[in-house]
């Protein structure tokens, strides 16, 4: 199919014929992705992290992503998180776009230099990836291959600038022209929960100046600190310049919480949270309940545009937690089988009252 045919078809239909194709680009949007649409439409967005498998089997990716059907707007594919080796994030994202999902391509600066990263950005855009998350990345010393060479040719802000140059100026960093610029919705991360606290807002400002349009934060277990951070963000007008999605996740037990606090870089868990888990007869359940309450509370914070759920090894509980929190209201985020569900719902409307939210309300 020629480029002209594709463009013509995009204007005809709001939904692409091939689920792997990006959506038509709306005015004022920088990408053709569903995630940007949801945020710009003013919806409270939910994203979740998928753990790339230690496998060459694409079915494992499909099985993992289906757990999030109907509750998330985009899926983050991590890039060797914790400096551990897994299937590459660009490949996971490419598999996800082929299935019709809206992935967020995480790029860490740890493993690739500027030549590899720019190549991956072009390749990702060619595979229908529309959102990108720039990270510095964990050091190799904390992962399962401490013998590896840490690259860190760019940092997360330089990577954001690289994305901006490629998307807006249609060139490589070298100046060489691209025949087709990628159209990407760029984002990055902020950790408001570690020192130096006063500088975290300035760091956010820098990332916005470098081009970040959305921010996903490290795990939020301390609502007061998040509230304090968001107050400064809103006061300085930064919440109008980017969408902020605090990170959340269920703690499996007090013991794991303690371990995470001392072994996972950047994770801050207040004593009160650990005490609450210890005082519970079912710690896993209590951890999930805390997460549900956190999601609900974060929605009420001014300047917060969504949440990012990182439920490592508890992915099967993400849907239940998001539903319990009630943050989506009647909205059902679109997923590849949503249209089929919608058709099935149409067949049943004479018999069953339409109380269940349907995919018709989805984006």
């Amino acid at each position: 199919m020629s480029v002209a045919d594709r463009t013509a078809r995009d204007h005809e239909s709001a939904r692409p014929a091939d689920p792997g194709d990006p959506l038509p680009r709306l005015p004022g949007h920088v990408s053709r992705g569903r995630f940007e649409r949801v945020l710009r439409a003013g919806h409270f967005a939910v994203t979740a992290e998928i753990a790339p498998p230690d496998s060459a089997d694409p079915v494992e990716v499909a099985e993992r992503v289906q757990l999030f059907d109907g509750v998330v707007d985009a899926v983050n594919a991590t890039d060797g998180s914790g400096a551990n080796c897994h299937m590459s994030s660009v490949a996971v994202c490419a598999l996800l776009t082929r299935m019709g999902y809206s992935p967020i391509f995480q790029i860490s600066c740890r493993d690739r230099n500027r030549i590899a990263i720019q190549g991956d950005i072009l390749g990702a855009a060619a595979m229908g990836i529309c959102s990108i998350l720039s990270l510095s990345g964990d050091d190799v010393s904390v992962g399962d291959h401490p013998q590896a060479m840490p690259v860190f040719d760019l940092d997360s802000i330089s990577l954001l600038e690289t994305v901006r140059v490629m998307c807006n100026e249609s060139r490589f960093l070298s100046g060489r022209k691209l025949t087709q610029a990628p159209a990407l919705f760029p984002g990055s991360t902020i950790n408001p929960f570690v020192p130096p606290y006063p500088q975290r807002v300035r760091q956010l400002r820098k990332k916005i100046e470098a081009g970040a349009l959305f921010i996903q934060t490290q795990y939020c277990f301390d609502l007061e600190r998040m509230r304090d951070f968001m107050r400064q963000v809103v006061d300085q007008g930064l919440a109008e310049r980017c969408y902020i999605l605090p990170g959340v996740g269920p703690l499996p037990s007090a013991r794991t919480a303690r371990w995470m606090r001392s072994n996972v870089p950047g994770v801050h868990i207040p004593d009160a949270v650990i005490a609450r888990l210890e005082g519970s007869s079912n710690q896993r359940e209590a951890g999930r309940q805390f997460c549900v309450e956190m999601i609900h509370a974060l929605k009420e914070l001014p300047g917060v545009s969504g949440v990012h759920v990182m439920a490592y090894r508890q992915e099967k509980h993400v849907a239940e937690m998001v539903r319990k929190s009630g943050v989506l209201g009647q909205r059902v985020p679109w997923y590849p089988q949503a249209d089929a569900v919608e058709i099935a719902a149409d067949f049943h409307t004479p018999d069953t009252p339409d109380t269940q939210p349907t995919a018709a309300q989805s984006i």
Partner: protein
Amino acid sequence: MYVIRQWSTRHAGMLETLYLGLSPALFKLLVLLSQVTGERLDGVITWLEKILKGLLFDCRMCGECVLSSTGMTCPMNCPKQIRNGPCGGVRVDGCCEVKPQMPCVWVAAWEGSQRMRHGQRIEELRFAVDRGRTGTSSWLALARTDPLERKL
């Protein structure tokens, strides 16, 4: 040497004054030397820069010195070599996630910049270094740029 490096951060204001006071004359001298001797003294000047900045700042000779914008703290000592820090892994005590004994380079940089007249320059975006310049002299590079574009 963390001890001397930390001393430099604590005295960032004094070092800045010294640098701003001496650098115009020193750069004039460097320009002159460079014009008269060409590249013959490059090795000696680079060695001098390495020794002096190595002692005071644990300089890594990246070739694109930003000490006067980063609180007199060399960002190349960050294990991730972040030029726009800090990263999200800083420990509660302000130390580095990779080297727990080392105070985070960027925590120190922000502290140092508070003591400097042009401390706000830490907020400028800085693109990643040109790795081709590793090991070369920033002083000579500055001396050989157009004086109108030279930013001390």
